[in-house]
């Protein structure tokens, strides 16, 4: 009894210490983001922070965000995927070909793109998992192969325009009422979840955090959700692409925290041998990571084609680098075993903000390259320096 309470006490103290430390890490990133936003806000006379630009920005970051989510899993599992950009281009191209040339319905086309992406994921995952060829090589090969297939299939043509229903995926907004509805729903779920979690911990005899902290967090998150919804609703509403991203993010955060598959990925990336000896099927799980990445690339392809209302031969070129950068900025370790979806999304937002802000400021092209390169290094450095 006595013993029990001792552990609980240290547990509590540490828990606090830990969550504070964790938050500090997350905060560094968020602080970097806020600084960047403020900087561009000032430089553009506030335009950067206008409802309209926030709406643009969120649509602009959507494609990269979708693949970054998959890339987080890939990197956490200890691999890398250089073929994503090509696969986005290829699946987007196939989607356009099926609709524009063959008259498929939008729904069928989306299913096809995701399925084809997943199929190529199987191909790559098989080589990596069952043939032990380094992912770097398999996906470097994939980068060439997928681009080649796209050039062959499309004969180099730009394929456009797509049906209206297809176009809407990347270019529509959620009606204001529904937007607010969703926002309030998420706030409600957040509160409900916290209450349940506290009750659950209590019933198991575990320490419960002071309600100030727990509900303080809930309040901050709720405020953010409502504010974001309000800002976007001041313009046309929540853009469909970012809604898709948020939806995916929730699913994948859930997968990574709540399912054995998610946990296994971290174990595999952290120490494959120990994972294998713990009864984890390394090959099958690795294969699935690549299948998921492929499926997400398919979805991203659909989004990109829809946004442009056209598919081009070099669509998606080099997107993998942006996606990997988003992961690393967000704290994912290229050694595997460590990384968070939310961090990655903040990373993607930072990258998109840099591009967006500089283009708003009309900075000369060569300066854009240089500044983006520097900010990339600095952002990661600040994060690292702070973790120490």
């Amino acid at each position: 009894m006595n013993n029990q309470s001792v552990i609980d006490k240290t547990d509590e103290q540490e828990k606090k210490g830990l969550s504070f430390k964790f938050d500090l890490q997350a905060y560094t990133l968020i602080i970097a983001l806020v600084l960047i936003a403020l900087l561009f806000g000032i430089m553009t006379g506030g335009e950067f922070l206008s409802s309209r630009n926030l709406s643009n920005l969120s649509a602009q970051m959507a494609v990269i965000s979708v693949i970054s989510i998959g890339m987080t899993f890939i990197i956490v599992a200890g691999h890398i995927d250089l073929s994503v950009g090509s696969l986005v281009g290829l699946t987007g191209g196939i989607a356009a070909i099926l609709q524009v040339w063959h008259g498929w319905s939008t729904f069928a086309v989306i299913v096809a793109a995701v399925a084809i992406g997943a199929l190529f994921g199987v191909w790559q995952g098989w080589w990596v998992a069952y043939r032990a060829v380094p992912a770097f090589i398999v996906t470097l090969g994939g980068m060439l192969i997928f681009r080649g297939i796209l050039i062959g299939l499309s004969k180099g043509q730009t394929i456009a325009p797509l049906n209206d229903s297809f176009k809407y995926i990347g270019n529509s907004y959620l009606p204001h009422v529904i937007g607010y509805g969703l926002a309030f729903l998420s706030v409600a779920l957040l509160i409900f979840g916290t209450i349940r979690n506290r009750a659950n911990r209590d019933s198991m005899g575990l320490m419960i955090q002071s309600w100030v902290i727990d509900y303080g967090k809930v309040s901050v998150y709720s405020l953010f959700i409502l504010l974001a919804t309000y800002m976007l609703n001041r313009y046309y509403g929540i853009p469909t692409p970012i809604l898709i991203v948020v939806f995916l993010a929730i699913i994948f955060v859930f997968i990574s925290n709540k399912t054995s598959f998610g946990r296994y990925i971290y174990a595999i990336g952290g120490n494959a041998e120990a994972a294998a000896l713990s009864g984890i099927n390394i090959k099958r799980n690795t294969l699935w990571v690549f299948i998921i990445m492929g499926g997400l690339a398919g979805l991203a392809g659909v989004l990109l084609t829809s946004r442009l209302n056209a598919a081009t031969v070099n669509a998606g070129n080099m997107y993998e680098l942006d996606a990997i950068a988003a992961c690393v900025i967000g704290g994912t370790s290229l050694m595997g075993g460590r990384g968070k979806i939310i961090g990655t999304l903040i990373g993607a937002l930072i990258m998109a903000s840099i591009d967006n802000g500089m283009s708003m400021m009309n900075v000369e092209t060569f300066w854009q390259y240089i500044v983006k390169g520097l900010i990339l290094i600095l952002a990661v450095w600040i994060d690292i320096a702070n973790k120490k």
Partner: protein, 506 residues
């Protein structure tokens, strides 16, 4: 070293520790896991630079402030780290001389290095080609290389941090002789070990640390094992092996018949092995380093690449286990001898490591329940008396002994019917050992069949109901608790051929 204080984020590892070592003596440093022994030695060897701790270091009357490992090396301090510090992809020769002047030269003369390496290997009694890749050696041999590496330095102070954890008795003897030789040559040694018999036979002085504080420093004459233990643990520990005679069921939980494994290159790894394990029985497996014990049980656990023959019966059911997942499903758990490589996922926290092999035990409707996960982990780790800042701390922040407890917890969570423990107390302090033995007893009493593979004879003798001896992949002897003696076991372990008969006759 005077008034040394060292703090890690959240942990005060050393609190005003002082220790003085006389020239040319062997000075033992004892203490529980996490007492701060390794940390103190890392300070002495410059791993933590002089601005990362407070306190003073005086060597030969001179105040020193090492800013780097190289500076301490140049001052004649060399250290054998607790965790192996070898580059697996490099050869023995390269590893031996990595920090040596022979390699620091502008242009390296490899032939000279190979010749030198060969000399050293012979000196320490290792029959190895200096151009062998270190990664291809067993942990035990790697440990010997690590020791040799320190010897090649021009050393005035030699620090050995648990050098014998992975060594078998015979190698320990080689090392003891070596250290005695060095003492005669006037080299000062600081020796850290949890094996108190070594300490008693070797040391001139013993300093004891507890919770980062110096408890005492006495000449060996004034000490005995019990006294050391009492000082270390802070209470009295009367018996080392809390063996309890229990009624053992007659039911076999594991039966292995004519089991032979052949690896991909065609050589036999396990050779016609037959044995059985009863419910609630503790079987000790003894043997020399490289006897094939680890490989036998790893392959029974489903981790093996080549061909297998013979039959394995678990709980009355003929099984063909092809992967650890299947083994776990059949109720087998295997605690590896190499926890860094096979046991823990660094980067994950204690809780996540504990539940890794039995996630289904902390899931509700197929989803991980964080609260349940924490509860289960807490229950287990409390029983083990795990010392950790929190259950959400990363495992790499724990001391070695506590890491081992996490691995044990992980396997206990799978609720095994058969628990295989490969060197379960390697690097663990007496107090913790005692706790682990108690857990083993408890499990046996609950009917779990337990296999203890151990290179420490006293452990095997002290804990087992029955003892099997292995040599060259075969079982060369079998003894009941009462018949077994050190001598009999060593005989079977070295040249058991003639004894095989007597086993067969039984």
């Amino acid at each position: 070293m005077k008034g040394i204080t060292k703090e890690f984020p959240g942990v005060l590892a050393l609190d005003n520790v002082s220790i003085s070592v006389r020239k040319g003596e062997i000075h033992a440093l004892c203490g529980e896991n996490g007492a701060g022994k390794s940390t103190l030695m890392k300070i002495l060897s410059g791993v933590y630079a002089h601005n990362e701790y407070s306190g003073k270091i005086v060597i030969n009357g001179e105040n020193v402030e090492f800013k780097s490992i190289k500076e301490s090396q140049d001052a004649g301090v060399s250290i054998i780290y607790q965790e192996l510090a070898l580059v697996e992809d490099m050869t023995i020769a390269e590893n031996l001389f990595l920090s040596h002047d022979l390699i620091r030269k502008k242009i390296i003369n490899w032939n000279k290095i190979y010749a030198e390496a060969k000399k050293w290997l012979q000196y320490i009694g290792l029959d190895l080609d200096p151009q062998t890749r270190v990664g291809d050696l067993t942990v035990g041999k790697q440990q010997l290389i690590e020791i040799t590496k320190a010897l090649t330095q021009k050393t005035e102070i030699l620090i050995l941090d648990e050098p014998t954890a992975a060594l078998t008795e015979s190698d320990v003897e080689v090392l003891m002789n070596l250290l005695n030789e060095l003492r005669e040559k006037g080299v000062t040694c600081i020796y850290i070990s949890h094996k108190l018999n070594e300490v008693m036979s070797l040391a001139d002085t013993v300093t004891i640390l507890r919770d980062g504080k110096t408890i005492s420093s006495d000449p060996i004459e004034q000490l005995n094992e019990d006294k050391i233990i009492t000082k270390m643990v802070g209470r009295e520990l009367t018996e080392l092996f809390p063996y309890e005679a229990r009624p053992i069921s007659t039911e076999n939980v594991l039966e292995v018949k004519a089991y032979t494994t052949t690896d991909n290159s065609g050589s036999k790894v396990s050779d016609n092995v037959s044995f059985s394990l009863k419910k609630g029985e503790i079987v000790g497996i003894s043997g020399l380093m490289g006897a094939g014990r680890t490989e036998l049980f790893m392959s029974l656990f489903g981790k093996f690449d080549g061909k297998r023959d013979g039959s394995v019966i678990v709980d009355g059911e003929d099984v063909n286990i092809k992967s650890p997942a299947e083994a776990i499903q059949k109720g087998i758990a295997y605690v590896s001898e190499d926890r860094k490589r096979f046991g823990l996922v660094f980067g994950m926290n204690i809780t996540q490591n504990t539940t890794l092999a039995a996630l289904n035990k902390v899931m509700k409707v197929n989803l991980i329940d964080a609260a349940l996960e924490l509860r289960r982990t807490m229950d287990l780790t409390e029983k083990m008396m795990l010392k950790a800042p929190s259950l959400e701390a990363r495992v790499e922040q724990l001391s070695g002994g506590n890491q081992q407890k996490v691995v044990l917890s992980k396997w206990l969570l799978t609720n095994p019917k058969i628990l295989i423990l490969d060197e379960p107390t390697r690097g663990i302090d007496v107090g913790a050992k005692y706790e682990i033995y108690k857990i083993i007893n408890e499990l046996a009493a609950q009917g779990v069949g337990i296999v203890i593979i151990s290179s420490e004879l006293p452990e095997v003798l002290g804990m087992s109901d029955r003892i099997l001896v292995m040599a060259e992949g075969r079982i060369t002897g079998e003894f009941s608790r009462d018949e077994a003696t050190q001598e009999k076991i060593m005989l079977c372990a070295t040249g058991g051929d003639n004894l095989e008969q007597s086993v067969g006759n039984r």
